[in-house]
Symmetry: C2
Subunit: 348 residues, 2 copies
């Protein structure tokens, strides 16, 4: 019988082992499958915008959700200035729990897992929204998320070429280096304009917390799919408002995206389509070759839930966790204090 | 230099060691001191009612707060039926984080810590509200929280005798056994009426999720302080409404208590006093010998913050934690994917 006090913990080291064991493209593909399955039963989830605690330098958020059988939440921070101090902009961990008992089933690092699920989500959205023959993607912003995006679009959408641009050439160099041997054609560009040449998909993924204009209106031609990843909190956007007005906009969860996404620049009643409806066949995705589609990605709790569920499932057959003595488990549940007394007697 | 990927983790085993090392009454007293200090700067905290996910059999909650320098949250479940399955009604864990970087500073079990802080909070409230000469406390409900309450009232309020009653005699027997040798006079009673004989303080702490009537109106005489711990979620109360109408009611955070506490039975504008105002000298506590004072305790995030802060402080000199590899920490923060590649090269 399983010890009641033990919660399996996936460390950063074990998460890397798990991803390397399965192979990153397989993990991205399977994660997208889990997200898709959960988006298909969207209405069965408890949904709430994330609970954010803002400070002048960043934000700490809790993102809970539940499907009635399992409950998941993620702790995640966003501190753009961290990079300058040698720290991650975004770090995360998460917990999956059993709704029936309230006991945690899994504690896991989610910095790597969030990078994976964000990329899987982007590629899943693009599979429904991007031109079917898309083979070239521009990637503006070549930070921590960039390689994950590139590989997810390769694995899920058949992208063959990524065109990289970052205001910091070192970031682009890092990305080129990391993607060599991936099977992708990788082109380092010296401007956003150069990066988007011939691209059917444009991914924006920059980190500065400000109203930025990574793309201006005249850069975006008809028929393009924009995967806007970096505009994901109040005061942080990447696209010129005019692009939004020309695009058909798809979002995860409107109450959250209207506050955090690119569409914070628009009227609160500007029409958007919920992505789950497209995936479920309840709303159209791309309807014409000339349409500009925009996935205004901010990251929603259900995606983390899917990722937690995926890791939990993998651990049924793979050894990449360690036991954590996290739950007090006295023999008699009402005898919590007696457990202390017995520990004392044992130590004496 | 501290490894950036490491978060100190306090297991259940280490929490017991910490409490036994310092002594439980000392821990209760010091915890009350930390809570008092935080209540004195109440207005400097981000406050939000807890975020609850309800199911037919229980609730899972996240309780975040921040003072602008540190951020804390607790995960806690409440599943009254768990006891029958050999599980804890309430289990919890929590995290303290640095607001400046968003990085976690501490992960700790909080099942034991919550029992401690709840008792410390009750005794702190009683120190401001109970008759000064109170020496006898009735304890109705002798479950997991009971001994902690008894010892906190001994350490902080000078209680010398506890009179125990539970509908299950086995719970009372357990409590009598655990408190033998504590220095308290412990009296097992066969009814609530017997338990409250001569008691200046009545603590109610039962677990069933229902509108219960642990105390009826005629049982409560003038001058008594009621410490109502068990009525702590919607649909779960312990006191007859008429008692509330005769009492001066003190609460932690009205927006939460009006939903979760005994006062869910009253009109939403029924006058209550915020306990922090009493502690800060901004509102009166007990004003007469005949007054019935009622602390309608539900447990608020700031108390958990205080408890996390206390444990974090103890770990500066005590060895009761273990390092957890929870934060992905690539040498270059933008090179998360490169960390994976290097792990692969190392394993090859």
């Amino acid at each position: 019988m399983k010890a009641l006090n033990i919660v399996p913990f996936v460390s950063v080291d074990n998460m890397m082992k798990l991803v390397l064991h399965l192979g990153i493209e397989r993990v991205l593909t399977e994660l997208a499958g889990y997200i898709e399955a959960d988006f298909l039963r969207w209405e069965s989830f408890d949904k709430t915008p994330r609970i954010a605690s803002h400070s002048p330098v960043g934000v700490i958020e809790l993102m809970p959700t539940s499907d009635g059988e399992m409950y998941g939440f993620k702790y995640v921070n966003g501190h753009p200035k961290n990079t300058r101090e040698g720290l991650q902009t975004v770090t995360a961990f998460g917990v999956l729990a059993d709704v029936d008992t309230g006991y945690p089933l899994l504690l896991t690092e989610m910095t790597i897992l969030t990078a994976l699920r964000t990329a899987a989500m982007s590629a899943l959205a693009a599979r429904h929204l991007a031109p079917r023959d898309a083979r070239v993607m521009a990637m503006i912003g070549n930070g921590a998320q960039a390689e994950f995006q590139a590989l997810a679009f390769k694995a899920l959408c058949g992208i063959q070429e990524v065109r990289l641009y970052d205001i910091d050439p070192a970031a682009t160099e890092k990305c080129v280096r990391n993607l060599s041997g991936s099977g992708l054609k990788v082109v380092a560009c010296r401007s956003s304009e150069e990066a988007i040449e011939g691209a059917q998909i444009i991914t924006t993924c920059t980190a500065d917390k400000q109203y930025a204009t990574i793309l201006t209106d005249n850069m975006v031609g008809p028929g393009v799919h924009i995967n806007a990843v970096g505009g994901d909190c109040p005061g942080k956007t990447e696209l010129h408002r005019d692009i939004l007005l020309r695009s058909t906009i798809f979002v995860e969860y409107p109450p959250q995206t209207r506050v955090e996404g690119e569409i914070q620049q628009l009227d609160p009643d500007h029409p958007v389509t919920e992505l789950w409806q497209v995936i479920a066949g309840k709303a159209p995705g791309r309807t014409s070759a000339s349409q500009i589609t925009l996935f205004d990605s901010v990251g929603f709790a259900i995606e983390d839930f899917s990722a937690l569920r995926y890791v939990h499932e993998q651990l049924k057959t793979l050894p990449f966790s360690e036991p954590l003595d996290m739950i007090a488990d006295p023999d008699d549940p009402r005898d919590l204090y007696g457990m202390l007394l017995r520990a004392k007697a044992k130590a004496a």
